[in-house]
Amino acid sequence: MNLSALLKRTLVLGAALAVAIVVIGGIIGFTVAGAPGFVGAAIGAVVAAVFLGLTAVSIILAVRATGGDMLKPAFFGIVLGGWMVKFVAFLVLVLTLRSADWLNPVAFFFAVVAAVIGSLAIDVYVFATSRMPYVDAKLPPSSAESDLPPTA
């Protein structure tokens, strides 16, 4: 199992978590603050899941672009450049949504916190239960694939 496969798994589980928080947070938000509470919780969960997922996506793209060679500058250009752009976008989004009256800011905040902590838990779970090889070495072809004639 390689890094890209693991990251794809965190993306899938992260999306499932976002849906769960939209449902649960939406119900709580609607009960406490009405329609703005529901919208706030839903947007908060989706925003946090998307922005955290972008890190995984940027690493998948970087691995694909560099062929897995981390010491190529393009790897860190994509990962860290993506990180910076993402934070500027998040800041602009927060400033835009702050003045919206159709959104409950407290519900938004708690949904973001829940989604962030939940996606961290998912990341740790996926990586802790993965089976990564200690050493990335090219193995010699197995006897079935090799060009040598069979010995027996």
């Binding site: 010491l71 973001v112 916190v113």
Partner: protein
């Protein structure tokens, strides 16, 4: 006796929070990435595992930044 205003602050002090929220994660990600480069330079064969750990490090660091920026929503006024 009249009170003299020595310093006055207008606007919202909460915006300073973004600056504070950005300092820690910026240093954190710098350390995570720098140490990963160092480690890969020393032992390139561990690259796969180091990439995984680097992702976890970045994820935890950026979580703080996200929560820090999102506090703008509840700490205003």
């Amino acid at each position: 006796m009249d009170t003299t205003v020595v310093a006055e602050l207008t606007g919202n002090i909460a915006t300073v929070g973004y600056g504070l929220a950005a300092i820690g994660p910026a240093i954190g990600v710098g350390i995570v990435v720098g140490k990963t480069i160092e480690s890969v330079a020393r032992q390139p064969e561990l690259q796969g595992r180091l990439q995984t750990l680097m992702f976890l490090g970045i994820a935890f660091t950026e979580a703080l930044a996200f929560i820090g920026i999102a506090t703008y929503f509840i700490f205003t006024n």
